[in-house]
Symmetry: C2
Subunit: 548 residues, 2 copies
């Protein structure tokens, strides 16, 4: 009979497991080990405390040891690192970091939620860089904040343009620091595809952030005062944030012989059980199944950690609960922008070899006639025939994550793009349009699948121009002042039926407007009248995203 449960890690996954376990069973002995000084802290809030948005440090601590012990009758031991697991004897070795003494603690069930550590590769000069920081926990946060308060740096380099890097950029910027982002890929924010990330790039430049793409750090020198890039470029800086990703903190799991994957993530089954029948693992330390493509992957986010923690508690207590895989729904605030995504992006789908179709739309966040509406750039990825939803990405100022959440719910409901027009979403002018952007994405996808219109993507345009293709701009002439596709012929949509004689019937006409809608209407007219045409998906706006 299970009586004693030992948990390693006292934050998102660990504390969630402990709390639910106690709610399910008043009699369990529950011991939670945390090597740090704090449990249940708000990892995700740390950058905002550094920037001053969160002003009160104590707000970062969601639950104190005292309060959680009292509420849940859990034996919480902080500054206690589990340094070894003895699977044969079902016991762990714990090092008390105050006294440096070690002791054993047995378990009936062991739950691992050790999280992941910031990557810190052996770049030349990294150990001597006294101004280099990573950010995972409260001590890291204090160190960064103290450094800023004491040294009042004017320049910082953020290495890595993922969400933590961008959040740190925003918050350093809020401290009056000029930030250079160095990112090895050709884009920031990996969940987005390139053209969507370009919106973020523009916004960063607008905010006077120095963005260096496709370049990596070669070395640090002068105790971190100089950063030399692979390109040879040198940057003087007063501080460095290293945010190039995380790696599962699984040394004890590995030493204990638990099955790990090549990236040292713990392998678990759908009940979150490891290769040892008495050990579960959750959170950033585990490999998960990608909900869309079913491959194994690592998705270190708070929702999965919390969800998995509760699932493990249920399973321990004899309830059956399975984790269906991770969609990877995510959102980040990047200055004034909201960037959100769910499911797979093109990069992932290409890597795993799944065929797909793509659309881009740019509908208003709410009714255009009600003040404060801003376009949302929304990308939807789906299978060509069945219209299965594979992923979605949104970038904009308002209402972005709402649409991604709705699509994430639709995916979990196994709805296809054909069902999106039927989602009956709340409408009043301050909130949406009578056809919500999600409905609109469904309409546009349906039209593509049903063959009402054929589309090409932004990245195909330049080849078409080079090959002398015929490109038709159906916008009003004044709009062309904002930029056009090279050599495009302009016939405004309203004049199209009257000027058909200007167009050939023996050549594909590549049509575009500003966002795709009028291009689509033009294509419908042309197609029915016997012309061959394709709409440039997402219009000039999408094409221009990557032109900067």
């Amino acid at each position: 009979m299970i009586q004693k449960i030992v948990i390693v890690g006292g934050v998102a996954g660990g504390a969630s497991t402990a709390a639910r376990l106690r709610r399910l069973n008043e009699n369990y002995e529950i011991i939670m080990f945390e090597k740090g000084e704090y449990i249940s802290f708000a990892n995700c809030g740390l950058p905002y405390y550094i920037g001053g948005t969160i002003m009160d440090r104590s707000r970062l601590i969601v639950q104190t040891v005292e309060a959680m012990s009292a509420r849940f009758n859990i034996d919480i031991r902080i500054l206690s690192e589990v340094i070894q697991i003895d699977t044969a004897n079902q016991s762990v070795t714990v090092k008390n970091l105050r006294t440096n003494e070690s002791y054993h603690e047995t378990y009936d069930i062991l739950v691992l939620s050790p999280g992941a550590n910031p990557l810190k590769p052996p770049i030349s000069g990294i150990e001597e860089a006294t101004n280099l920081f990573t950010l995972r926990n409260i001590p890291d946060t204090d160190a960064i904040k103290n450094y800023i308060n004491t040294n009042k740096p004017k320049r910082a380099v953020v290495v890595g343009g993922g969400f933590i890097g961008l959040e740190m950029t925003e918050n350093l910027h809020a401290c009056g620091i000029y930030v250079t982002i160095v990112e090895m890929a050709n884009q920031v924010m990996a969940p987005l595809d390139y053209e969507m990330a370009c919106i973020v790039h523009d916004h960063l430049l607008d905010k006077n952030v120095d963005l260096i793409l496709e370049d990596g750090v070669k070395s640090f020198s002068n105790n971190g005062r100089k950063v030399t890039l692979k390109s040879g470029r040198e940057i003087d800086t007063e501080m460095i944030i290293l945010s190039i990703g995380v790696q599962p903190e699984t040394k004890i799991a590995k030493d204990a012989g638990l099955e790990l994957n090549a990236r040292n993530a713990i392998i678990v089954d759908s009940s979150m059980k490891t290769s040892d029948p008495h050990i579960y693992a959750v959170g950033d330390a585990v490999e998960v199944k990608d909900y869309i493509n079913s491959n194994s992957t690592l998705i270190p986010l708070a929702w999965p950690a919390n969800r998995q923690g509760r699932i493990v508690a249920d399973n321990i207590a004899g309830r059956i609960a399975n984790y269906p895989g991770t969609l990877g729904s995510s959102v980040a605030k990047v200055f004034d922008l909201t960037v959100a995504a769910t499911g797979n992006n093109e990069k992932t789908l290409n890597a795993v070899g799944i065929d797909y179709r793509v659309l881009h739309i740019h509908p208003g966040s709410h009714a255009a006639y009600y003040p404060g509406a801003f376009p949302i750039s929304l990308k939807l990825i789906f299978t060509a025939k069945e219209g299965k939803i594979l992923g979605a990405q949104g970038v904009g100022f308002e209402g972005v994550e709402k649409r991604i959440d709705v699509i994430a719910a639709a995916i979990k409901g196994k709805l296809s793009v054909f069902d999106l027009p039927d989602l009956e979403l709340c409408y009043a002018p301050p909130y949406s349009s009578a056809k919500d952007p999600v409905n609109m994405a469904g309409y546009v996808a349906t039209n593509i699948i049903e063959g009402l219109v054929d589309t090409i993507q932004w990245h195909e345009v330049d080849d078409i121009i080079r090959d002398g293709g015929l490109v038709l701009d159906v916008r009003e002439p004044f709009e062309a002042d904002l930029g056009t596709v090279e050599n495009a012929v302009n016939i405004p949509l309203g004049q199209l039926r009257g000027r058909l004689n200007e167009l050939p019937k023996d050549k594909v006409i590549y049509v575009y407007c500003q966002v795709g809608l009028r291009g689509y209407v033009a294509c419908r007219i042309l197609t029915q009248l016997g012309y061959m045409c394709k709409n440039i998906d997402g219009g000039y706006k999408t094409y221009a995203l990557v032109k900067g």
Copy 2:
């Protein structure tokens, strides 16, 4: 073969039908009749133009006759009222309101989207009330705006507390007018249940709106300068907005012998076809199937009108499209509050005799530690066993309609409350919590259905007190200063395990905290230790909503 399509009504349903029809078929002859001067206007924006939020009147006109004719090659005839339908000869009689001349126009297919008229019952003195307005279209809007500009009224009475009444209240208030709302029911905003509407009542009072419930207008006198209520109360006023609902504008349909229901709504099948095989009807004028309870109902909203318009166009063009019924997802801004709902409320379910369970939660709109989070009061209604989602209501300041949209999508995906915890929604501190409010609602519902906790509702509490029931307050003592349930015993949750001897085992203990969470945790402790207990759902906060 279908060649000529005549459409009656040129706004939400009618214009949507016309536009889609043309996209599907370049050869149709499409004639759209509109008796007013404007097509495609923003009905939903009208109150905001009156209040000045929308400053430019031309923004209310989404499409002009010229632009829409040019883009879609549609024969649009404004100031043209269809006064008769001759179903036998497939022709309509049209009155040109400029010339007062009438003529016939034949059709292969007729589409009716005539909308609905504001109700204007024969209340004594109504015809003489020169300061009484209803609001449906642009001329109505101009009349109200001119009246305000000319007469600078200081006081207004809004009769009817539905969404148009409340929007007008807010916008008159923005014009510096002191508003009295007179509402016959015991609450405003019919999509909400009473306790949820109470949040709106409080907010209206905070905004210095005079709210009179459970009273109706008996008569108007002195040309509308005095309003006498059924209670005898008299109100002096300078203007009156009558917004007590709408009725289908279906006289021509009735005269033509189309099948109507008792409320004069046109009866259509799932393809939106009327009882006449050559006539379709959409929008506010038709009866729809309630998506939740399958009964017939009227839901005059913009989303259904737009959706149905497109479905009709598809059916005419030989594509098969069905309307699955209306969920009634709706949202309104009421001053600083957002009020949203989807599916059925308790009132409806009681009326149609469907059993249900209810929960209330009050989670933050986003992580508590990130500034600007406000509680969302979220109510979920579901079936007791299968956990089928029947409806949801939300009231709060931020992120309200997002959660209702996600639940609406879940309903369309046929997800149950058991699936809500698995909705993987976007999380970062400015947007949500690692367990989103929708996840949380799923957790709470699951716990109720699985018997982890038994709950009672706010409206059962007073009877329990009267019958001498034992009520246990597990909040901290300082919280009790904010108000308590009468005669409640206080044992803070953190002390519960140590003070069990103060509680009897032979009596049901009704537990509450502030929002329900700690009450639930207390119930889990007590239940497992052999006490009988029930959690007061939604905590003191829900109970107190109706106490004002």
